[in-house]
């Protein structure tokens, strides 16, 4: 432990105060001690915060065995769970709880009671599983909520709260998605120069010398091996030779086949929906289960069959696995989008406004008759309300509850299909392969069925579209968000168990792109698409006259107008009137467009400046290396070309588009060697060793 003079001086300067240089020694020592305690406290608090993140160890375990792309699915699932938990808190705390605690109980008014005609079957399990009977007239659906302006001691305004929560769910989700996208794109921008020593760093710095636990050590070995394999795949991709024409032709062929299958599935759904509209006109009791649920069945079937079909066709294309995943995601997205929107059109077609108008008119007419009879019979003007039991009142069809029921049924069937698929497709398959292998002619594990691989694209898209359905259905069925929270929780445990026990790692393990913005971008798109039907309903369709928190009003958003007129001071009403003036809104929109354009231009300029700085750094580095080499005896200027880092992330268009940087000045040894010959040396995107 030899200390030279330089180090001694540094030691003294550091501890000058503590060694008693003079005045203020005690205060200095105290300050130093408090600073140290503060640092320790901060570090402990950070450790605590990290320990609080749920499922972290489980995800790390999956990552070490299966690679970062499979783990990124579970991280996404965890993020969704957090989002849904917050949405559930909003819906439950601001809509469901007030109605339950301060509103009228079941059976007190017409909309909260099962009608007389349905009462004998209301408790049957088959009716309950179809969300009819007592389920239909419960807090799960829109129709239960009363339309009184204020309820309870606290004067809680339920209709206003319902509307604001319905819209607020979208607003909050939008904010969270955009914030996550911004944060991800921020991290994706570092990278810098570490593509230069990928393999060397991995070899010499990836082991954590602080590991003492054997299980942790096992995980670490697995993750190091996987990380090496990922880099090897990247390197091999960059070295492959290609026959361009054959490849292009195969790719065009593959795209054509896939377009055909997409068209086929669209046509099938259209056909089935038309048939279901015919079935709706027949008597419900005569239809078999299959005919009643045909639409959901066909949609689930398409969702199961098409993705593997797309994957098989995609083998013609021979893309890098990361790029192939992106294509697969895009195609499955198109499939699910077509399915979902067809389903939506079918649903809103069934909203039969004529029938409702006729029942409403009949009710009003009946009431008027009652009043005129009563006043002519008893000769008073003070008429009590009609004395009918709530179960006997004539009801309108209440289309919002019907729509809510459809969404809940679709979500439930989606959950069932997903879990069944995992059970049969993965677990049963693994059992069969493992146990039948002893008495089978060919090797089941290496040959035909073998163990399944985890289907990342299918699962991610399933998650995204499930969320889209929740967003659409939450307005009509407040209980749906709670259902989704339960579903995500069980999914996390179920899928992580299934992956660890029934799946094998992909043959070609590849690194997930650092920026998860691709998933987030899809989610954003789905968010906008699911916002449209809800906003359309709120603005255009009239609410049912006898069920839900907006009954009796012309449009749903009238609640907001009423609140502004009655509850808020007069000048706020004036402000709103001015603010909704088109003369004010158009300039505001124009201003926002200009701001977007300006910010876009600024960000492009910053990116260019960044690139220039990187190039400068490269040149300086090269210059230093050449000088350093020239100083060593007998060293010739080495013709190592500089490779600008190749961005092979999920967002990059073509991994082969590497740029060769012309080599720097060669003045010193007079050796006129040009840039190295041979194929372009691209680099996979280097990352520092996985943090642990």
């Amino acid at each position: 432990m030899g200390w030279n003079c330089r180090e001694c001086q540094a030691f003294v300067e550091k501890f000058e105060g503590a060694l008693g240089k003079g005045k203020g020694r005690k205060l200095y020592a105290y300050k130093v001690m408090m600073a140290k305690k503060m640092i320790k406290f901060n570090r402990d608090f950070d450790n605590f915060k990290t320990a609080c993140i749920p499922w972290e160890r489980k995800i790390k375990e999956v990552e070490s065995h299966f690679g970062s792309s499979v783990a990124s699915y579970f991280i996404f699932l965890r993020w969704m769970y957090g989002l849904n938990l917050v949405l559930f808190a909003f819906m439950f705390g601001l809509v469901v709880l007030p109605e339950v605690m301060m509103g009228l109980p079941y059976g007190s008014i017409a909309r909260k009671t099962v009608p007389r005609a349905e009462q004998e079957r209301a408790m049957d399990i088959s009716v309950l599983l179809d969300f009819g009977g007592y389920c239909k007239y419960s807090i799960l659906f829109y129709g239960f909520y009363n339309d009184e302006r204020t309820i309870g001691v606290l004067q809680f305004r339920l209709p206003l709260s319902y509307l604001l929560v319905g819209v607020g769910i979208f607003g909050y989700s939008l904010m969270v998605v955009i914030r996550t996208m911004a944060r991800n794109s921020d991290e994706g921008g570092d990278g810098g120069d570490d593509g230069q020593f990928t393999f060397a760093f991995k070899m010499f710095t990836s082991w954590d010398y602080l590991i003492g636990n054997p299980e942790t050590a096992d995980n670490k070995y697995a993750s190091i091996t996987t990380s090496f394999k990922e880099s090897i795949v990247d390197e091999q991709e960059n070295q492959k030779d290609e026959n361009i024409h054959l490849r292009r032709f195969l790719r065009v062929l593959a795209n054509f086949l896939i377009l055909c299958s997409l068209g086929g599935s669209g046509f099938l759904i259209y056909f089935v929906v038309k048939r279901s509209q015919e079935f709706a006109n027949l008597d419900q009791d005569e239809l078999s289960w299959f005919e009643k649920n045909e639409v959901e069945f066909v949609m689930s079937l398409l969702g199961l069959v098409c993705p593997p079909l797309f994957e098989t066709i995609a083998e013609l294309e021979e893309y890098h696995p990361r790029i192939a995943l992106k294509w697969q995601l895009g195609r499955i997205f198109a499939l699910f989008l077509g399915n979902l929107y067809t389903f939506l059109f079918a649903l809103f077609d069934e909203v039969n406004l004529e029938k409702e108008k006729s029942i409403r008119n009949a009710t009003i007419w009946g009431l008027n008759e009652y009043y005129s009879n009563y006043s002519s019979y008893h000769n008073t003007t003070d008429i009590p309300p009609p004395d009918i039991h709530p179960a006997d009142v004539i009801r309108g069809p209440c289309w919002e509850t019907a729509v809510g029921i459809e969404f809940v049924k679709l979500t439930v069937s989606d959950i069932q299909v997903t879990y069944m698929t995992i059970l049969i497709g993965d677990f049963l398959r693994a059992m069969i392969v493992r146990f039948l292998n002893y008495c089978w002619c060919w090797d089941l594990e290496a040959g035909f069925p073998s163990y399944g691989e985890f289907d990342i694209s299918g699962n991610v898209l399933g998650l995204i579209f499930n969320q889209g359905m929740i967003w659409m259905g939450a307005f009509y069925a407040p209980g749906l968000v709670g259902l989704n929270v339960l579903r995500l929780l069980t999914s996390m445990y179920y899928q992580s168990w299934a992956v660890m026990s029934c799946n094998v790692p992909h043959e070609r393990v590849f690194k997930a792109s650092k920026s998860n913005n691709f998933y987030m971008g899809l989610l954003l798109l789905v968010l906008f698409l699911s916002l449209l039907p809800v906003v359309y309903t709120i603005m255009t369709l009239p609410p049912s006259f006898d069920c839900g928190p907006f009954s009796g009003r012309e449009q749903m958003y009238n609640v907001v107008m009423e609140t502004i007129e009655n509850d808020l001071p007069a000048f706020i009403g004036n402000i709103f009137t001015y603010a909704t003036n088109p003369g004010l809104i158009l300039p505001a929109v124009l201003l926002m467009v200009l701001a977007i354009y300006y910010l876009n231009a600024t960000s492009k300029n910053y990116q260019n400046a960044n690139l220039e700085l990187k190039k400068k750094m490269q040149m300086v580095n090269e210059h230093y290396q050449l000088n350093y080499l020239a100083k060593r005896p007998g060293a010739a200027a080495n013709g190592k070309g500089v490779n600008l880092q190749n961005d092979v992330s999920l967002a990059a268009p073509n991994p082969k588009a590497a740029v060769t940087h012309p080599p720097g000045p060669r003045g010193l040894s007079g050796n006129a060697r040009g840039p190295p010959p041979g194929p372009v040396r691209g680099r996979g995107r280097g990352t520092p060793p996985p943090r642990h």
């Binding site: 570490d194 990928t198 060397a200 010499f204 082991w207 390197e235 060293a635």
Partner: protein, 175 residues
């Protein structure tokens, strides 16, 4: 000025060292109680063999434990006297300077002790890291790439200068 430095630095330093040493010696002693004396007045020449040292919990899970102990021993066979023992832990600690760590890291990865990291050394390192789960082609590919990346003087093996140049750019080479 030099007298001042000696007094102000060496005395607290001495106290600090004595305190640490007593704890370290406790650990050294418990590895082989019958071998290690508590009394050093006669300057006994005691060395603990390799097998006992790698059984320490801090080193037990480390794939390079044998090499670590060997590179700190004087005879190169892994028998550590107390001096060597203290040296080893001081280099492995967080407070050791970066250059020192680089020197010893080079020694650890140099399996055939020829002051160069040649391809065989790298292959051994890789196999220890992945517990031989990679195929031979993959191992060859990785070693070739690593030498390509770090070798500056073009002799297809890494001298200490090459290694140091590479390792000082590593983001988390401190543990």
């Amino acid at each position: 000025m030099k007298e001042d430095v000696k007094v102000k630095v060496l005395i607290p330093l001495l106290i600090f060292i004595i305190f640490l040493c007593s704890r370290l010696h406790g650990r050294y002693h418990e590895l082989a109680p019958h071998l290690v004396p508590m009394d050093y007045t006669n300057e006994p020449d005691v060395k603990i063999p390799l097998a006992l040292i790698v059984s320490m919990p801090e080193l037990n899970e480390n794939p390079f434990r044998n090499r670590i102990v060997e590179s700190f021993s004087e005879d190169g066979a892994g028998n550590l006297s107390f001096n060597d023992f203290v040296d080893m832990f001081s280099v492995l600690s967080e407070t050791a300077p970066r250059e020192l760590k680089a020197i010893y890291a080079f020694k650890i990865y140099d399996f055939n002790v020829d002051n160069f990291l040649c391809k065989e050394d790298l292959e051994k390192t890789l196999n220890k890291l992945t517990r031989e789960e990679l195929s031979p082609e993959e191992v060859t590919l990785v070693c070739e790439k690593a030498i390509e990346e770090a070798d500056l003087d073009g002799d297809s093996k890494l001298s200490f200068a090459d290694f140091e140049n590479m390792i000082t750019r590593a983001p988390d080479f401190l543990r």
